[in-house]
């Protein structure tokens, strides 16, 4: 899986009159995790969305393996997984159906793989239930199963432990630890520190 380094050079982002990101820069090699913290409105989500290529910074660049990601955004997107505040799930589909469509759009996935991933996050007994009947924590677990199934080198996670119980938070730590062990990278915006199972993490605090 190790493919490249994520580098961020002097990133400046404005939202209207607000200067949200002020010269953010860091380099993240394979096998490293960056924990981004800061007060509400400090720009954590904006940073993740800029790293994804969903938002265009006024100044600065995001480099993947030394190349500006804007040169081939589609290829870069094929190497990242972004999990926002809310899991990208359809309320009227079951947990399993959701994963089948979500992951299937990106790569071929068979039923066995889906079931294994859902079992890993403790969803075996409720995988056929409609997502509208699941709790926020269960939905987050389904999203984590999707994240693991995507098998991409870069994970961009926005508050990955939200709504999860202690066991679920531990699971997030384990998944991050496994991603790093494979040589992948993780950038996670957090309000509380990532679980210890994630291993050693670098920290970036955004000014409020």
């Amino acid at each position: 899986m190790p493919e490249g380094t994520l580098e961020v050079e002097n990133l400046h982002l404005w939202r209207g009159e607000r200067h949200v990101l002020r010269g953010v820069q860091f380099a993240l090699p394979g096998g490293a995790c960056l924990e981004v913290s800061g007060a509400n409105g400090a720009g954590k989500t904006s940073l993740l969305r800029t790293l994804c290529g969903l938002m265009y910074p006024e100044e600065g660049r995001v480099l993947w393996a030394g190349e500006d990601v804007r040169r081939d955004l589609s290829a870069y997107h094929g190497r990242l997984a972004y999990l926002g505040h809310e899991p990208p799930l359809k309320a009227d589909l079951s947990a399993r159906e959701n994963l089948r469509y979500w992951i299937g759009v990106r790569r071929r996935v068979d039923g066995k793989e889906l079931d294994t991933a859902l079992a890993r996050v403790g969803a075996s007994s409720w995988r056929e239930r409609l997502v509208r009947t699941l709790s926020a924590g269960q939905r987050r677990r389904v999203a984590l199963a999707g994240l693991a199934l995507l098998a991409v080198p870069l994970w961009l996670l926005d508050e990955p432990t939200t709504h999860l119980d202690a066991q679920g938070q531990e699971l997030v730590g384990q998944l991050i630890g496994e991603q790093l062990a494979r040589g992948g990278m993780v950038v996670a915006a957090v309000h509380q520190a990532l679980p210890a199972a994630a291993g050693e993490v670098r920290r970036l605090e955004l000014p409020g």
Binding site: C52, S74, H77, E86, K90, Y101, R106
Partner: protein, 223 residues
């Protein structure tokens, strides 16, 4: 692989639509009601109904198709599906096209199948049905695709229905004009090829350009 992605996006929308049947029935019920109310409001006299049938059919089809457009991308925008599509590394244009095909299958196709019944109830002769079917099929394809641009452009706007209509109605006028003309010629038993060809050309143009425009608009709305 991009084809697989588009196929799955299409399947997902179809499966979701069949789980939320209320939304599915709304445009059809609207179309049926409008076409049935006209004879009650104007006159049951067949010759009179026959002369207004093309206009009634096409205005009802246009408004029914508009009714369903608001939902085309809205739920996907709220639950993060559009974001995932944009970040999938697959062609967003292809995925938008797949979604619009699903929309046509769920609204345009049923409207096409219902149009002959509505036409017959408005006094159209049975011989005009093949022509009406062809015109409504091509016209609703164009309407769905043109509508997808408006739906994508108004994604970030709350209560976007009115704005969507303002954006889409002027662009849909050629479809309305050629569609009504083709239907009128079919009812009169005259050759209807010229307006039908123009409708087909509009549909082809929309197939070529609308998914590109919709994908660009979705990208802007995600920023």
């Amino acid at each position: 692989m991009s084809l697989d992605a588009a196929w799955l996006a299409l399947l997902r929308d179809l499966q979701l639509a069949f789980r939320k049947r209320g939304q599915l029935v709304q445009p059809l019920a609207f179309f049926a009601m409008v076409t049935m109310l006209f004879p009650l409001a104007i006159s049951p006299e067949l010759s009179r109904l026959r002369s207004i049938a093309p206009g009634v059919l096409w205005v009802a089809a246009l408004l029914a198709s508009l009714l369903a457009l608001e939902f085309l991308f809205r739920d996907d925008a709220y639950d993060g599906t559009l974001e995932q599509y944009a970040l999938s590394g697959r062609s967003l244009t292809g995925l938008m096209f797949a979604k619009t095909v699903a929309h046509w299958l769920l609204t345009g196709l049923p409207l096409t199948l219902m149009a002959p019944l509505a036409a017959l109830s408005l006094g159209a002769p049975a011989a005009s049905i093949p022509g009406i079917l062809a015109a409504v099929a091509a016209g609703t394809v164009a309407l769905s695709l043109i509508g997808s641009i408006g739906a994508a452009l108004t994604l970030g706007i709350k209560r976007s229905g009115a704005l969507l209509s303002l954006l889409i109605l002027p662009l849909s006028l050629p479809v309305l004009i050629f569609g009504a003309r083709a239907t009128q010629l079919a009812i009169n038993g005259s050759p209807l090829l010229p307006p039908l060809e123009l409708l087909a050309a509009l549909a082809v143009l929309a197939v070529t350009l609308a998914p590109l425009a919709a994908a660009a608009a979705v990208r802007i709305s995600l920023e």
